[in-house]
C-alpha cells in the first residue's frame, strides 16, 4: 500500500492531479491511500512552492502543474 499525498489549496489543477493519480493506480492495480493536503502550513512544510505537489511514501516527487501521465505511471 502506497501513501500518496496531493498538496494544493483545492484549485482545479490539484483536483485533476488527484483524479489522474487515482486512475493510473487503479489501471495498474496498485493499492494506494490517496490523501489531499489543503492546509497551507502543511504544504509549506514539505518545501513546495508551486502547487499541486505530490508526495509518495513521504518523498516529494512532483511540484507545479498537473504531472504527465507517464510520470505518474513511473511512481507505481
Amino acid at each position: 500500500m502506497k501513501n500518496v499525498k496531493v498538496l494544493g489549496s483545492g484549485c482545479s489543477n490539484c483536483k485533476s492531479t488527484a483524479k489522474l493519480i487515482g486512475e493510473v493506480a487503479s489501471a495498474k492495480g496498485v493499492q494506494i491511500e490517496l490523501e489531499k493536503v489543503e492546509d497551507m502550513q502543511a504544504i509549506v512544510n514539505w518545501g513546495i512552492m508551486s502547487t499541486p505537489g505530490v508526495v509518495v511514501d513521504g518523498k516529494v516527487v512532483h511540484a507545479g502543474g498537473v504531472p504527465a501521465r507517464a510520470k505518474v505511471e513511473s511512481w507505481f
Binding site: 489543477n13 509549506v44 513546495i48 512552492m49 511540484a63 504527465a68 501521465r69 510520470k71
Partner: protein
Amino acid sequence: MRFPMTINVTSDHLPVLPRSAPWVWLILALVLWIGAYWNLTAFADALLSVIGLDRTTHLGEAVHFFFYDTPKVLLLLTLIVFVMGIVHTFVSPERTRAMLSGRRLGAGNVFAATLGIVTPFCSCSAVPLFIGFLSAGVPLGVTFSFLIAAPMVNEVALALLFGMFGWKVAGLYLAMGLSVAIVSGVVIGKLGMERYVEDWVRALQKSTGSEFQTERITWAERVESAIAQVRDIVGKVWPYILAGIALGAGIHGYVPEDFMVSIMGNDAPWWSVPAAVLIGVPMYSNAAGIVPVVEALIGKGAALGTVLAFMMSVIALSLPEMIILRKVLKLPLIATFAGVVAVGILLVGYVFNAVL
C-alpha cells in the same frame, strides 16, 4: 546541444514525439506556421467568397475581420505559449528563488519582476511561493515585485495584445507592467513592513529549503512539456478569444468608432482612470478573459491608458487573491500592497493618456 539518444524507460508508454529527432518536427512545424501566418488575408478572402459575402458590406467586413483575426491570434498564441513552455522548463520557481535569495532592494526588484515573466506561475500557488521566497532570504519588497509581475505580465496577455493591437501596445503593456511591479516592490520594501507578515510564517525555519530536486530533462522532454502547455492553455482560452474577436468584429463592422469617447476617451473627465481601476478590483479574470473586453472598449474609442489601467487592475488587484494572501499577511500589509499597486496603475493610466 546534445540529442537524447536513449529512450527514457519510465516514459515509454507515451511516445508523443519521435524522441530522437524533435528538431526535424519543430522545423517542419515552424515552416507550416510561417506559411499560415503569411497567408492570413488570402485565407480570409477565400473563406469570404465561399460564403458569398462581399467586403464592401457591413456584414462582409465584420465576417472578414473575424476570419482574419481568429487564426492570426490563435497562431500567435500557440507560438508564444510554446516558446514560453520551453523557457519554463529552464526556470522553475525553485531556481528563481535561488537566484533572488539575498538580493538587495532595487536591482533585486528589477531582477524579480523580469523573472516573474518567465517563471511558470499559477495564482493558486501565490501563497506557497510567497513563503518559499521569504524563507529562502528573498527580501519582502523583492518578493512582492515578483508576485505583482508574474500574473500581470504573462505570455498570454502579451500574445493577445500583440495579436489584436500590434507590437506597440504589447510593448507598452510590458514596460508599464514591469514598472508597476518594480516600483511597488521597492516602495513596499522601503516601508519595512516585515512585521506585518503573519507570525507563523516568520517562525518557519530558514532552512525550509526544498528537498525536491528538479530532475535533469532532455530536449525531447522540454518540447513535449511545451506542447502539453500549448494544449492546456490554448485549449482553455480559445472560447474567450472567439467571443472577444466576434465582439470586436461586430464593433469593427457596425458600432460608430467614437461611442466610448465621452466616457473613457481622451476628453473624458479626470476620474475616468480611477473609476476604471476601481471597477477592475472586484472583477477577477485572467488575461484571456479580459483582452476581448479591452478590444471592445478600445474599438469604441476609449483611451488606451484608461483601458490598460483597467486591464492591469483586473489581473493584478483581485479580491480573491487578497483573501488568499490574508493567510500569510496581516491587513496593513495587504492594504499597503493594494494601495501601492493601485497608485502605480493610476499613474500609468494618466501618463499614457497624456503621452498618446
